[in-house]
Amino acid sequence: MREIAAEAVARAVREMCIEANTKLPADVAECLRIDSRCEPWPIARDALEKLVENFEIAGRENVPICQDTGLACVFIDLGQDVRIVEGGLYEAVNEGVRQGYGEGYLRKSVVADPLRRRNTGDNTPAHIHVEIAPGDHLALTVAPKGFGSENMGRLAMLPPSAGEGGVKDFVIESVRLAGPNPCPPVVVGVGIGGTFDRVALLAKKALLRPLDRPHADPYYADMERELLERVNALGIGPQGFGGRTTALGVRIETWPTHIAGLPVAVNLNCHVARHVSRKL
């Protein structure tokens, strides 16, 4: 049994919260740089150039790329031969978020109750998801999620007869309805299969896969490519002012499902598609 101190988890999460909010992942930065050169529509190109300038300033000066430093989504791959000692795992993650958002001068954007809406003042609790597998590893991913894009998510329980076409149309329709609101260019996370709750999680996890890594299954890699083309044919463009670059990428994750069901979910991310991973 490998022992990991809760304090080590908290320290890692603290550092990752700050890093995620100030340094854009290399794959996202590369996409924005390329698109700022290749975008054919002038107002769209101007916007993309400003986005590049923005994340360069943020990285250089260690300031948040975006003022919505998000709800801290923390994904944990936990080996079953790991024991967290000197504290609880969830408490450690929340302590890391508390410290990171405080010391990093990040915005505290969490309310304790959805209707009474009192700010918790330290951006906790984090949204924590743990998956347990054989081994003695502990891998953390911190993905601060802004709600301008989160609010534009959609979920449908399609009939199996809707098939591939129905799923694709739902994705395109979701991006079209979101329009300028989620800060395009967006990253489109798509979940297909599982259950009502699982499919939403799949869509969010899809946002974590780097933009330069297509789906391992060629069938879904082709679908990702096709959906990206169709999304970028909508003409929404950066900020919704028109243009080709509506999305930087489409990422799909799937799960086995019931004979009667075809759940599909779309979780949009803005161009500040933040995520940092680390193994302890």
Binding site: I43, Y105, G235
Partner: protein, 218 residues
């Protein structure tokens, strides 16, 4: 940076001259307010109490900045999505609010109120909070400090870059910009053919090997 320079407060006459798509650089005082602050302002109005800011010919910026680091005027400060303020904005425009700065769509009711009152909706670049903060030269809390990031602040901005998204005549860049682009792209409807790339290797495109557009456009 290029744009029509304008100083606040913004008169009705000046506001009426803007057209959707205009690039504008704002200088002067603007006020921050987002969800929670708007709810409080409208509560004051419901009780017939005076507002804590002079709303006439004022500009409100929908923003909740990150905390300022030592030595900074303000933290990152890009726009938040505007539709959440749609429920409140017409009340404020009826009292003379001349402009709003945010991002994303507005409701038909807000756009109606803008036409009636001669107000403008500006878009700042969503997600460019570090860049936009550089155009803010001073910031002080006016009220609702207990709301933290959502407090009402008085900002002084210099050449703050925005685009007119909806003008006082109903012109709407989200609609016209998308239509103009799609026309440029040579298609009647979305989703038919890939759009040719503006660049060719001869034009200096260095991205041919890594181009993400299929089929390879260059």
């Amino acid at each position: 940076m290029i744009g029509i320079r304008v100083e606040t407060p913004l008169t009705r006459e000046r506001a009426l001259a803007f057209r959707a798509g205009d690039a504008v650089l704002i200088s002067g005082v603007i006020y921050t307010a987002r969800d929670a602050a708007h709810a409080r302002l409208v509560e004051l109005l419901d009780r017939n109490e005076p507002l804590p800011i002079d709303i006439r010919d004022a500009l409100v910026y929908y923003v909740g900045p990150t905390p300022a680091k030592p030595g900074q005027v303000i933290g990152s400060a890009g726009p938040t999505t505007s539709y959440r303020m749609d429920a409140y904005a017409p009340r404020l425009m009826d009292l003379g609010l001349r402009g709003m700065i945010g991002k994303g769509r507005r409701s038909p009711r807000v756009i109606d109120s803008m036409r009636r009152n001669g107000a403008v909706y500006f878009g700042a670049i969503g997600g460019a909070g570090a860049l936009l903060a550089r155009r803010i030269v001073s910031a002080e809390t006016v009220c609702y400090g207990d709301l933290g990031s959502e407090a009402i602040r008085r900002l002084t901005v210099r050449d703050f870059p925005v685009t007119v998204v909806v003008d006082a005549h109903g012109g709407n860049l989200h609609e016209t910009g998308m239509a103009a682009y799609l026309e440029f792209a040579g298609r009647k409807q979305a989703g038919e053919r890939p759009i040719p790339c503006r660049f060719r290797p001869a034009d200096g495109c260095e991205n041919t090997a890594r181009c993400r557009w299929t089929p390879p456009p260059c």
